[in-house]
Subunit: 133 residues, 2 copies
DNA sequence: TATTTTAAAGATAAATATTATCCTTTGATA
DNA sequence: TATCAAAGGATAATATTTATCTTTAAAATA
């Protein structure tokens, strides 16, 4: 169990017990939706407000402490910010897994065939996970 | 202006004036959000219900007549289903543009380094469009 | 073409999801 | 320890999406 006090402060976020618990939950579970996170936090803080979850998720995103991952045909999930990576999603069970693939070639190609100045690539691969096959 | 009557029927959708107008709007504008589509449809049908927009978007998605495109930090947009392609999004003006890039190599790599059975890839590239540079 | 059937439209209520507000509590700093 | 800005909790307000019910109309068919 990592102590996220310093990490939160680096992102200009006060290290409250609620935020430490959210950080910890994301560290342990990897990717979580708002509702799942809320349910989990309720077990730790029996009177935590859903508004606290939303306010923190929004603030943490603004400060780049966490990131949103938008998934086809499913609710968004959130994760602690880490080095750029892509995602694998299981259409059967909804499991979201990290995968690191070098997208530089793709980005270069896109730069050549378009007139955009490109600086970010978001890739989500869908399929069936090991467990559901 | 294309007549989408047959195309709608192929997807088991009755060709109502509202649906023809939605199809036409998507054909002309490429990618549209729910609210923008609703505003536009109101000009054509001054009493169209927002529920009609939602019901049609949902039904058209179920029948694969249209597709949803989830965009980082923005609302989803919808487009007529066409051959698989990726998207470019302008962080400045929100413009969404199609771009065709071969993702087979990426998908193959993902198959090798993961245990997923992968069948779909969704790529969104973010940056600044020509106009906003 | 007239009739019948069934799905879709419109109006609107209901349900969900998200944000704002207000007051109390607390983390950070000195 | 005292101060203060920020965060939490409770809850109201908005926003978004879906459900329900009645009317209308598209499509099938006689
Ligand atoms: Mn991830
Ligand atoms: Mn497109
Ligand atoms: Zn699975
Ligand atoms: Zn632009």
């Amino acid at each position: 169990m990592i102590n996220y006090t310093d990490e939160l402060r680096k992102h200009n976020l006060k290290a409250t017990p609620q935020r430490l618990a959210i950080s910890d939950a994301l560290y342990i579970n990897g990717h979580m939706s708002i509702e799942v996170l809320y349910e989990l936090m309720l077990k730790k803080f029996n009177s935590i407000s859903l508004a606290t979850i939303y306010k923190n998720i929004n603030l943490m995103m603004e400060n780049s402490f966490i990131q949103e991952v938008k998934i086809p045909n499913a609710k968004s999930v959130y994760e602690l910010t880490k080095t750029a990576h892509s995602h694998l999603v299981c259409d059967s069970c909804g499991e979201v897994e990290d995968i690191t693939i070098d997208l530089d070639a793709i980005i270069d190609e896109a730069k050549q065939i378009s007139s955009f100045k490109i600086d970010k690539a978001s890739l989500v691969l869908s399929g069936v996970c090991k467990n559901c096959q």
